[in-house]
């Protein structure tokens, strides 16, 4: 096992990347899916091993090709990265497990191997971002994952997926290019691309303008990719028209990985070294976070399509994550990281429930789903549980991060009370748009005549409920996300772990 252990950090990328081209060749029905799911599960196990290592406290380092840093490309897995790796690989595995029937419904059989190959590339790319400790390496993996995710989104059966993915492509590429400019400027000033090395060398040049410009470019570029308000416009349509299984996967982790880089750069690389940067960070991102929460929730209130409504809700939740980070305190940062995990659980359950609904209902407009609970009671039950977690009812995962967020806001002093009001208002709007769905599906009479119970396929339903119950488990016993989040927060804020 020692060989495996020694190379563990690089495996999350290597395994999916090697299998991705092989999957294309698997033509027999279902074989491609089986291979993709098996790969994803392997990645999940590897992520768990890495997380176990991270819980012990040490960041695991690895030099690619045995070339030592700072000349070689270095990988590093710390608490924050491990937390997100778990979310990523877990979301991928569960989405694939649950999504078999949905993929069969939405994709033609001969396109599935290509689609699943792209899925594995997204997995490899996002994993690569999370383990990289080299700025340009992050860019490469970011583009690998982005290009592959454009393919995922374009797989949707609705023709409106095409304009949606085009806009996603344009905005994503601009974002990545901004990031590229940023790290170019950083390289120009410090002469290195290794994150730890940059942290050291940037202190000499931290008050020169190119560094400030670089910080700006990187923040905006990653903000585009992370769907920070008002750069979020690509997200609702992309999530809405993608195949349902792909939406489950992307909604759970894609934007969060971009937030990972954003927070890592802004806190680890820049924060402690830039004069006045702390003030800029909070002053700049906090209003955007607040606007994101309020505006996106408000739009979700009036959106008639369930999938699109949940997509807008995701934009609001990204606002919550940024709000916690922008408070620049241990509690706020912990809340932010915890919310990444909790939101993945909640949104995963919700989008999986929508996937189940889509198996039996041709349209996901709210009016077309009247009385759906009579036909699919278990599905709507899972939806309610996920919804309660999204709202932040105690006993669910979403509550734990809300609690920390409110506490952090109160500790913030001054404008903190306004932030409490914003958080609360966001939760109340979530109550409104979730309960709208509950009312229509549970109490309105279905359009067509008599109703028999016709649930989603058993595997899909089981996995959906697994995720829904995970919300409750991690709500009553949030040890995993609390420890990893706190470790990550300490690392980001520069305190000793």
């Amino acid at each position: 096992m020692t060989i495996l252990d020694a190379h563990l950090p690089v495996l999350p990328v290597v395994v999916p990347m090697l299998i991705a081209p092989l999957v294309i060749m698997l033509r027999p029905r279902g074989l491609a899916w089986a291979a993709a799911t098996a790969t994803s599960s392997m990645a999940f196990l590897i992520a768990m091993a890495l997380a176990a290592g991270a819980l012990d406290g040490e960041a695991q380092r690895y030099a690619l090709g045995a070339w030592a840093a700072p000349y070689g490309i270095e990988l590093s897995v710390d608490s924050f990265g491990a937390l997100l790796l778990l979310i990523l690989t877990g979301a991928s595995t569960l989405a694939l497990l649950a999504g078999k029937a949905s993929l069969d419904q939405q994709l033609e059989a001969d396109r599935q191997p290509l689609f699943l190959s792209a899925w594995l590339l997204v997995l490899a790319g996002l994993s690569g971002i999370l383990i990289s400790a080299d700025a340009f390496n992050i860019f490469v993996f970011m583009e690998i994952s982005s290009l592959a995710s454009y393919i995922l989104v374009a797989g949707g059966p609705d023709r409106r997926a095409m304009p949606a993915v085009f806009k996603y492509l344009i905005m994503g590429t601009i974002g990545a290019t901004f990031y590229l400019i940023g790290i170019g400027l950083v390289y120009m000033m410090t002469g290195t691309l290794n994150l730890t090395d940059i942290q050291v060398r940037i202190q000499d040049v931290s008050d020169l303008r190119p560094i400030l410009v670089a910080a700006g470019f990187i923040t905006v570029g990653l903000g585009l990719k992370a769907a920070v308000f008002p750069l979020h416009v690509w997200l609702p349509n992309a999530y809405n028209f993608a195949p349902h299984a792909a939406t489950v996967f992307l909604a759970a982790c894609a934007t969060k990985v971009s937030l990972y880089i954003l927070l890592s750069f802004d806190f680890v690389v820049f924060q402690q070294n830039l004069i006045g940067h702390e003030m800029q960070f909070a002053a700049f991102l906090m209003p955007l976070a607040v606007l994101g929460i309020l505006a996106a929730s408000a739009v979700a209130l009036f959106e008639p399509n369930i999938k699109r409504m949940l997509a807008f809700s995701s934009v609001a939740q990204i606002g919550y994550i940024l709000l916690g980070a922008s408070m620049v305190s241990l509690l706020g940062m912990t809340a932010s990281l915890m919310h990444m995990f909790n939101h993945a659980l909640a949104k995963g359950a919700l989008f999986m429930a929508v996937m189940c609904l889509a198996m039996r209902f041709p349209s996901l407009e709210l009016d077309a789903l009247a009385g759906a609970a009579k036909r699919m009671p278990w599905t709507m039950g899972a939806f309610v549980v996920g919804g309660l977690s999204l709202i932040g009812i105690p006993g669910t995962a979403g509550f734990t991060s809300k609690w920390y967020l409110i506490t952090a806001s109160m500790e913030f002093g001054g404008a903190g009370w306004l932030l409490v009001a914003v958080i609360v208002l966001g939760s109340l709007m979530a109550v409104a748009y979730i309960w709208r769905v509950v009312e229509v599906t549970c109490f309105r009479q279905p359009e067509t005549g008599p109703v028999e119970v016709s649930e989603a396929p058993r595997l899909m339903l089981t996995v959906t409920w697994l995720v829904a119950l995970a919300n409750v488990y991690f709500g009553l016993s949030p040890w995993l996300q609390t420890r990893l989040a706190e470790g990550g927060a300490r690392m980001l804020l520069g305190e000793m772990p």
């Binding site: 454009y150 023709r159 095409m162 590429t173 601009i174």
Partner: protein
């Protein structure tokens, strides 16, 4: 400050903005992609420029020569990677445009929005 010496960076900035303007303001999808390519090309210029050392030569080791001043090879390598990424993106983008043409019969953003509204 040597303004003329910073000529490359001025070009970079101008190209960047032209490309960005094309992406944002043009409604024809292919023109948007052209703008995107221009945008990315500007970044290539930035990287290559920063790699050039005054008096430096191509970074190739030669037998017998031990005190040559080389330009930095690393940005050139980085930019090769970025060029590949750019090409892939453009190719993918054009593929999507072809599909849009098949589905909508037009590659103008305004037309597409009009058709979707109906």
């Amino acid at each position: 400050m040597n303004l003329l010496g910073l000529y490359n960076y001025w070009v970079f900035a101008v190209l960047l903005m032209i490309g960005f303007y094309a992406v944002v303001a043009k409604t024809n999808l292919v023109k948007k992609l052209m703008g995107l390519s221009l945008f990315q090309a500007a970044v290539f210029l930035l990287y290559i420029t920063m790699g050039k050392i005054t008096g430096g030569t191509a970074p190739i080791l030669q037998k017998g020569v031990s005190d040559a001043v080389f330009s930095n090879p690393l940005p050139q390598v980085l930019i090769l990677t970025a060029i590949v990424v750019g090409i892939s993106t453009t190719a993918l983008g054009l593929g999507i445009v072809v599909r849009i043409q098949e589905e909508y019969g037009s590659i103008d953003e305004k037309d597409i929005q009009e058709i979707d509204r109906r």
